[in-house]
Symmetry: C2
Subunit: 435 residues, 2 copies
């Protein structure tokens, strides 16, 4: 499946004769020391020697971005974003040089480039710039010459030539964007887990690694706290249909391939179970059921830059309704105070909150055409005595809020109910969490 | 004399109306900590508020270049120059960001740029690239907008866009080259001494700070171990007649202005006395006085990449001659071995060496037209019983080699003989050495 590609998948642009092109991305932990960078060089060369062109995207060595941020904060607790980007971009610049040195030491030709040098053009929103265009001519030239190309992740430049950064995790986006621009045959994201799992193996020991997952499912899994891939990278991959694979830096497994629905695969009903322990729930009780009431409640919350996730409002009885929503736990106190401040103005009976909750989600493109998923889910939870506090649904996801103490029990019940269990799974899978 | 210029000197390009333009350069020690960078910001702003446009060139924070070099050497004891330049250039990139932050914190608008961003184009000789061209349009734009511009010293890019470095001390060259390209009214090099002295104050307590020194004298002083200014920077300044001033980062004195002869100044006879303790002397005694003998002696030495400084060969008597030259003390043992190896082949009587020597030089453009300088020099030394072992002369310099134990005595004797003494000088001038 992996390595030199001969599986007849639709031909993409061929840079160097008939050699397939692989873009690989290694994060901060994978390049965290001289020894680990040498290991990465070995993996890169192995891919090259298997008959591929290789472009490698790397992050700053682990800890380096924090060190630079601290230095900037010593100068200014609120460092200006333009100058901060100038500083932070040096982190990857050191890594690309070291990796190129390592590759050359191991006998292969390499060239390294900053984001600006391969003309990764972004908007001017410093610290969270978005890629607009890549003119990777210089990369193509090097590949033609047989060189391995090393590119700094996380950074680019705007139209004025200023250095920008894409925000934490932006190296994933760099890799995917480069893969799209170069028409790569595959973009491999190397991380400390060996793929995407049906759920967190630390919670359900029978969690199974998925060989494949659709782009939309991955998007739902990523946004639900399975922090394997930066969500913007997944979106980018979806937009340009970049074949994306999550693999482990530390073993040689095939990982998980992110695919696109038009590839006409047999869709499983449910791909995975995600959960999020970081949310808190707030309810405004007994508020008059009038038009505009939701806006009057959420307006002041959003003005305070607090992001709201789930929102539920039941049908009213006797002209009063209950309005419930969730926010990040860090914003709980602030949100509670805002609601208490507008309580009288709303004419509400009471404001009530709960931080001891967890959100649990079933994800799967297959559920689009299967009405029975929700009822199977609710039955499985009920059988374990788990009360559902909130429900919200999308086309390929059903989320429920339950008491946090039932998290593990709920995940395992659903994992079994939807036949995701790997009967051969070992009980101990430490360090392979997808959380 | 200094600050906003109103001295009627020939008008140079005016970037911003009638405001003079000052380029300032601060080295690694001057920007060695957050607090020192804040001090530099204050000095820069003071110059700006005195009515000047200001461009600031900075080096990496002291120690940073060594840290990066060590990291590279962990990967490869002989790191490839191209990748090493990529790494080293991050040192100044951090400083420019911090200085821009400091200036903005103190209420002035600032913009910072890498060498590549202000298009400092160099050749492709990594680690000791030479500046070929500067297209500083972006700097001019910023100055017009009233911003202070901060530029990374020591670095540039070649025509392919690769990052290059100019070698140790290259930030001086960056500052001078930018001053030339922008037509600056003055280029100020800030360092830990308050100017150029007639000689090292640690050796002669009556040493005097020079208000002015000619470019050619500075060149001789710089190459003779008065390590205030990088010699390439002085050459560059001479080529474009950039008014160059050496000043102290740590006090407010006027420093020393480097001038050009066409400014028609009254030239003093002698400007200063330089010396070099780092040389060793080697003599091949009783070698046949045949054509090509100098080449047969020095050929193997230069093949071993050993630099030779002074060379003296006396007229021969009885067909035999003595051939003497000096090398850096670090190369003494190696050179001695080479000479011993070719001794028989040369038909020489003996090879003899001495490391306990010092070179002492009088420098001054005035001596061109004064034949008496040499005799005054030799008499002054003879009066103190100092024997002269070697002599070599150039148009504006006379160098002698003497026993190193006479260094201080010799310098003081010459300092008095050529009327350089500052009769008001304090005996203790520690920390103001020009060595």
């Amino acid at each position: 499946m992996h390595g030199a590609r001969g599986d007849g998948r639709g031909t993409r642009k061929q840079v160097n004769g008939l050699m397939p092109l692989i873009v690989q991305k290694y994060g901060g932990t994978s390049v965290g020391s001289i020894e680990r960078i040498e290991d990465v060089a070995r993996k890169v060369i192995k891919t090259k020697e298997a008959g591929n062109n290789v472009v490698v995207v790397v992050s700053a060595m682990s800890g380096e971005t924090n060190r630079l941020t601290e230095l900037a904060k010593q100068m200014n607790p609120n460092p200006p974003a333009r100058e901060l980007d100038m500083m932070l971009s040096t982190g990857e610049q050191v890594t690309i040089a070291l990796l190129a040195m390592a590759i050359e030491k191991q006998g292969h030709a390499a060239r390294c480039y900053t984001g600006a040098q391969v003309r990764i053009l972004t908007d001017s929103v410093h610290s969270k710039a978005r890629i607009q265009e890549i003119d990777a001519k210089v990369v193509t030239e090097d590949l033609k010459e047989g060189r391995i190309v090393v590119v700094a992740g996380f950074q680019g430049m705007d139209s004025s030539g200023a250095i920008t950064t894409l925000g934490r995790g932006g190296s994933d986006t760099t890799a995917v964007a480069l893969a799209a621009a170069l028409g790569a045959d595959e973009c491999e994201i190397y991380t400390d887990v060996d793929g995407v799992y049906t759920t967190d193996p630390r919670v359900a020991s029978k969690a199974r690694r998925l060989d494949r997952i659709t782009f939309e499912e991955m998007l739902e899994m990523a946004s639900l706290g399975s922090k394997i891939l930066q969500i913007r990278a997944v979106e980018f991959a979806g937009k340009y249909h970049v074949p994306l694979r999550v693999r482990s830096t530390f073993d040689d497994g095939p990982g998980t391939l992110i695919t696109y629905e038009d590839e006409n695969m047999e869709e499983p009903l449910i791909s995975g179970i995600a959960f999020n322990r970081d949310e808190a729930k707030l309810t405004v009780l007994g508020v008059p059921d009038q038009p505009g009431i939701a806006g009057r409640i959420l307006g002041p919350v959003s003005e305070a830059n607090i992001e709201v996730d789930m929102i539920v409002q039941n049908i009213s009885q006797s002209g009063l309704t209950d309005f419930t929503f969730t926010v990040h736990r860090n914003d709980y106190e602030k949100t509670l105070k805002i609601l208490q401040g507008i309580n009288d103005e709303l004419g509400a009976r009471e404001v009530y909150g709960d931080t001891k909750i967890v959100k649990l989600s079933l994800v799967g493109v297959g559920m689009r055409s299967h009405a029975g998923v929700a009822s199977t889910m609710f039955e499985a939870l009920a059988k374990e005595g788990i009360n559902i506090q909130m429900i919200s649904t999308s086309e390929i996801k059903i989320s429920v809020v339950i008491d946090e103490k039932y998290l593990e029990l709920g995940v395992r019940a659903l994992h079994t109910a939807f036949e995701l269990d790997d009967e051969d799974a070992q009980v101990s899978i430490e360090g392979k969490s997808s959380d």
